[in-house]
């Protein structure tokens, strides 16, 4: 309970910071007035520019964090995140490809198809007949798939005319520029539905954490539970990608950070904490990306790359000390 309060407080603080800071600095009082009406500068900023952006960042971060936590618990490996394994890149590639082909399709569906395709490729490539697949094999194969997808992305981007190509390139690195309330509604809506779908699966996740033999002995249909969880995880990640691009490393970092901030135990607590931490990381990284250098908006993906890569290195050295690599 205390953990939940701490997380909620940090989320509120990050959102408030992100709403007040930027090209134009606003006081909290101006924001407050803007929220309740009137047409001062605060109203414009919160309703049209920063409000939807922060809402999208919170939603996308939460679904990415949730997805990361699912895969890390499912594969019982802190490196097994959908962004490391190329699932988010697959979703992003599908969206960029659909946009460049001029297809008018609902983006969440396109992203979901891309994410599922990438996950299927990783699973098929890592599969060896008659042997169980080690989580690290999935991670490594996924890394190769992510490299390939990045190259395919550059391939698609090259075909676009100049300005659109620059835009697509930015988006493919993860970007929250020019989001509106429609995007926010979309990611929150899909996220809520998927989170509800996750509720009945939490027990399966807890049982799988005991090891698949024990889980099977306790009456769980292990194979089916795994596929359902993986499906939910990919769809969550795709929902985030559809509105914010394949922001790297958020899913990787969210669950461990959430567990540390909230001290959560049990599958439900860890999942909720991961969603909260993902939202915090995304909002703060977006704030840093647009406000760190005056007059310049970096794509958020660059910022999470700068934050996330050292985390991955640190994680690796920890894993090595524990003798797991």
């Amino acid at each position: 309970m205390r953990g939940a309060i701490i997380l909620a407080a940090i989320i509120a603080l990050s959102a408030a910071l992100s709403l007040t800071l930027g090209e134009v600095h606003l006081g909290l009082d101006a924001l407050w007035q803007g929220l309740w009406g009137g047409d001062g500068p605060g109203a414009l900023t919160i309703r049209i520019i920063r409000g939807p952006r922060v809402a999208v960042a919170l939603g996308a971060g939460a679904v990415l964090g949730l997805s990361g936590a699912i895969f890390q618990m499912l594969l019982r490996n802190p490196l097994a995140a959908p962004d490391v394994m190329g699932f988010t890149a697959g979703a992003g590639l599908a969206v960029v490809a659909a946009l460049s082909a001029g297809l008018i399709l609902p983006m969440p569906l396109v992203a979901a198809a891309g994410g599922l395709a990438a996950a299927a490729v990783v699973a098929v490539c890592a599969y060896r007949p008659g042997q169980s697949v080690a989580p690290l094999t999935l991670v490594l194969v996924g890394l190769g798939v992510a490299y390939t997808i990045a190259a395919l992305g550059a391939f698609v981007v090259t075909r676009l005319p100049g300005p659109e190509a620059a835009e697509a390139q930015r988006w493919f690195a993860g970007s929250l520029a020019a989001r509106d309330w429609g995007h926010a509604l979309q990611v929150w809506g899909i996220g809520a539905v998927l989170a509800l779908a996750l509720v009945p699966q939490v027990r399966a996740l807890e049982l799988l954490d005991l090891g698949s033999d024990l889980a099977g002995g306790l009456g769980l249909r292990v194979g089916r539970a795994r596929w359902l969880l993986a499906l939910t995880g990919v769809l969550l990640a795709a929902a985030g990608v559809a509105v914010a691009g394949p922001i790297p490393f958020v899913a990787l970092m969210a669950a461990p950070l959430g567990a540390r901030l909230a001290g959560a135990r049990g599958a439900t607590g860890r999942l909720a904490a991961a969603a909260g931490a993902g939202a915090i990381i995304t909002v703060l990284a977006d704030l840093a990306a647009r406000a760190a250098i005056p007059g310049l908006q970096l794509p958020i993906g660059i910022m999470t790359g700068i934050l996330g890569a050292p985390y991955l290195l640190w994680r690796l050295s920890r894993e090595m000390e524990k003798g797991e690599l």
Binding site: Q131, L143, G144, F155, L298, I302, G305, I306, L313, L316
Partner: protein
Amino acid sequence: MLLLAVAAALTLGIGVRPVGIAEIWQAFAAPDPNNPAHVTILSIRLPRLWAGIIAGGALGMAGTVMQALTRNPLADPGILGINAGAAFAIVFGSLLLQQADVGLVAVLAFPGAALASLAVFLLGGGRHGDAGPVRLALAGAALNALLLSLVSGVVVLRADSLEVFRFWVVGSLAQAGERPLMAMAAVTLFGAGLALALAPRIEALSLGSALSRGLGTRPGRVQAGGLLAVTALTGAAVSVAGPVAFLGLMVPPISRRITGHELRAELLVSASLGASILLLADTAGRLIFAPAELGAGVMTALIGGPVFVLIARRLLPGGQT
């Protein structure tokens, strides 16, 4: 060698304006400054050819040295972040120095590559003896992501030009005319000579450090020499062609097939294979969406990504790590 000759001829001949072999010969034998085809060959495609040979050869050899030193089939200057280190040093250096002189800034590629290779060696657990391939590959991927994020950040700062971004993040031969080709050719030759000289000792090292000491090899020195060669080769390649990835990954397995396990021969074959593949990748990249160009780095990554997957799935058989 034959492959290299064919690749070179294609690089010169094919493009938005196709030029026949006879005319290429004419351009060299009796250059006519008023003939547009001759100008294209000599001032645009010839530098590209040199850049491709330097960068491709250097990366092929660098990958071979790294795979032999680490005994890791996933070692490649691109994947382990050494390319990115060189690119970051150049991009960041030219931001700080506001230096227009390309040659001077290009020198920064070497400390950049050296620091990155040292970092990945230490992070990958090189001190404790054998670095697990998984750990090395993941540490490299993380370092690569970090440095390329920084490069993108700096490039976005300086100019919103997608061309510049593509060159420094993905690698291409499109700016060959503006790169310091002569100096980097010399550095590549130095790195190649060093690698060839060290080859027998690197082979001895791969027998295991105790045994190689018995044979009179000092492991620390050989490793340091190998890292120096990798640094020189990678730095030179990045300063002419940007951080082209995956050449060093896919070339060594092929040349091992051709030469067997003799490192010197393998290095030479890797050099010509690397150059050929890069030139072919560049030519293909120019043709696919002509007149738009697909960077050579994109093409190598399109082939290299699946190669990485193939190697990775063989690496960890069974349920243990």
